[in-house]
């Protein structure tokens, strides 16, 4: 089977900004592939180039074996694209939107019903409702139906879960898993690290570049140091104290706890944890404990960013 997407040296500039910088990647047929990165990482520009909506300044991209710049008319009917912003007609009803998108691709809702049925059953009770009056989660589902109604071979979903609550988000990912199981290739972007583990493989993106590309497991396994979760009653004072601890390599807030790595390598985890807790107790902090934990995608992302994140202190 050929690869669904082959991108080589793809670059897109807007004025003095390089939105996508020499990106190369391969997405296999049938894969659920995630582009993970913050706003401004270049995800949307990459997706728009793959969707034939934006011409690259350099490099090439082949989708389903077709060149995105030369073969766009052959490619367009075969891809489904869901842009980041709600892009349906708010004044048309749910059903009218679907019929419109089906007719654009020369087909009909009736003919494609089985394709979208898993999602459409949830929308059908509201089929007369104006799309603009739907909740966020329902809008996303309608947009997904409209992107699928012409039976594309590949689906490009740009931040489909941004602004959607946790329940709808989970339902959305469950739907994607079903479509993936039917053999569809899906490329999805998200700024949310916790969604990365839903993908077969992910690309971590920052400022137009790919920092890492692998399975979520491989990316977290590659985290080089032993990671500790440090708990204490006063998180903020604990953070400030550990900044002054001579053995600290990294220390940052992570939800309820702080994540710590030690400068010294090869020391038993137990003695590192003891050292940290003794230091904090000496600083008068209470409720202190430290123990090792596996790294998450977010920890790995932070490690890859190193000092390369957009800093408050850098000159704009």
């Amino acid at each position: 089977m050929t690869d669904a997407v082959v991108v080589e040296g793809l670059t897109k500039r807007f004025g003095s900004t390089t939105a996508v910088h020499e990106v190369s990647l391969v997405v296999r047929t049938g894969e659920l592939f995630g582009c993970i990165g913050a706003d401004g990482a270049g995800k949307t520009s990459l997706f728009r180039m793959l969707a034939t909506l934006l011409l690259p300044d350099a490099g090439t991209a082949r989708v389903l074996g077709l060149d995105v710049a030369r073969d766009l008319w052959a490619l367009r009917p075969r891809l489904g694209y869901m842009p980041g912003r709600f892009s349906l007609y708010p004044d048309l009803s749910v059903e009218e939107n679907l019929r419109f998108f089906a007719s654009v691709f020369g087909t009909s809702l009736e003919r494609e019903y089985d394709q979208i049925a898993p999602i459409y059953v949830q929308l059908e009770p509201f089929r007369q409702r104006r799309a603009g009056a739907l909740s966020g989660g329902m809008k996303q589902k309608l947009a997904l139906c409209c992107a699928l109604v012409h039976r594309p071979d590949i689906l490009l979903l740009d931040e489909p879960t941004t602004g959607v609550d946790a329940v709808s988000r989970r339902e959305f990912w469950e739907l994607l898993a079903r479509f993936k199981a039917s053999g569809l290739t899906i490329i999805v972007s998200t700024p949310y690290m916790d969604e990365a583990t839903r993908c077969d493989r992910i690309a971590l993106m920052q400022q137009g570049r790919i920092l890492a590309l692998d399975t979520p497991d491989a990316i977290t396994r590659a985290f080089a140091r032993t990671l500790f979760a440090v708990r204490a009653n006063d998180r903020y004072r604990t953070l400030l104290a550990l900044r002054e601890y001579p053995h600290t390599h990294t220390i940052y807030p992570f939800g309820e706890v702080l994540h710590y790595t030690d400068r010294r390598t090869g020391l038993p985890a137990g003695s590192v944890a003891e050292g940290v807790t003794a230091f904090l107790a000496g600083r008068g902090l209470t409720g202190v404990s430290a123990g090792t934990i596996p790294a998450t995608i977010e920890d790995s992302f932070i490690a890859y960013l190193g000092g390369g994140a957009e800093s408050w202190h850098a000159s704009p």
Partner: protein
């Protein structure tokens, strides 16, 4: 954190015709606490927030925000709170300094005071060099830090943050949470609303609204213990899903 209460609601209720959007909710948020106020779309979160910030009168129940009654003191409440939304807070085609001056004026600060506080803020943020740059031209992380500072310009007792770190990179996100910790440590109460449970885990305590009621309240660790899971997402979904059918 002190024992002072920043937000106190008792049986707070709001109905719209026959629909009860907020149904007898009670909660207490302590001064200097970072409180996460969560709920699925349509759970009543926005209606409750609008009552807290003095934009909507309750149908019944009582609430005091920053020491003022929500029925009789809504104007005093508005002066005692700050608000920052991730999506919209600053005017992009105004400069950094113009934004500060605009909000200072909105909050009713005298010109002299605005000038003094602007200079102090710009120095603290290390943004003197960019004071006359349009906001659209400064990086997202800077903008966020600036809009947070602007929301604190009139030294409110409580600051409301709507998805404060959505869409930023993980390092910028942590710098922002540190700023929130620092603000809370100085005694300002921080109320956070977000759709993202991993963001909620940074809060001292959270409440989750379900169908107009408070379905659960506690520290993130307490809630995870109660629901026997290590994921806040799971807590949220289990609370919100019994209804299963999403509002259209």
């Amino acid at each position: 954190m002190t024992d002072q209460i920043a937000i106190e609601a008792r049986e707070l209720t709001r109905t719209f015709a026959s629909f009860t959007a907020v149904d007898r909710i009670s909660l207490e948020v302590r001064a200097g606490e970072i409180f996460g106020f969560l709920g699925a779309n349509g759970a009543g979160k926005t209606t409750a927030m609008r009552m807290f910030i003095g934009l909507l009168a309750p149908s019944s129940g009582t609430a005091r925000v920053a020491g003022h009654d929500v029925y009789s003191g809504s104007e005093a409440i508005k002066r005692s709170i700050g608000y920052m939304s991730q999506r919209f807070s600053l005017y992009e085609d105004l400069t950094v300094r113009e934004n500060i001056r605009l909000y200072g004026g909105v909050y009713g600060l005298p010109d002299k005071e605005i000038r003094a506080r602007s200079e102090g803020m710009l120095a603290r943020l290390g943004m003197e060099q960019s004071a006359d740059t349009q906001v659209r031209a400064i990086p997202l992380g800077w903008r966020q830090k600036l809009s947070f500072s602007v929301a604190l310009l009139h030294r409110p007792q409580i600051v409301f943050l709507d998805e404060p770190t959505g869409g930023v990179d993980p390092i910028t996100r942590r710098q922002f949470w540190e700023l929130i910790y620092q603000t809370a440590a100085e005694g300002t109460t921080v109320l956070v609303t977000t759709h993202y449970m991993d963001e909620a885990e940074y809060c001292d305590r959270i409440s989750i609204m379900v169908a107009g009621r408070i379905g659960a309240m506690g520290t993130p660790a307490e809630l995870k213990r109660e629901f026997v899971t290590d994921s806040m997402d799971e807590v949220f979904v289990r609370l919100a899903r019994p209804s299963q059918v999403e509002a259209p």
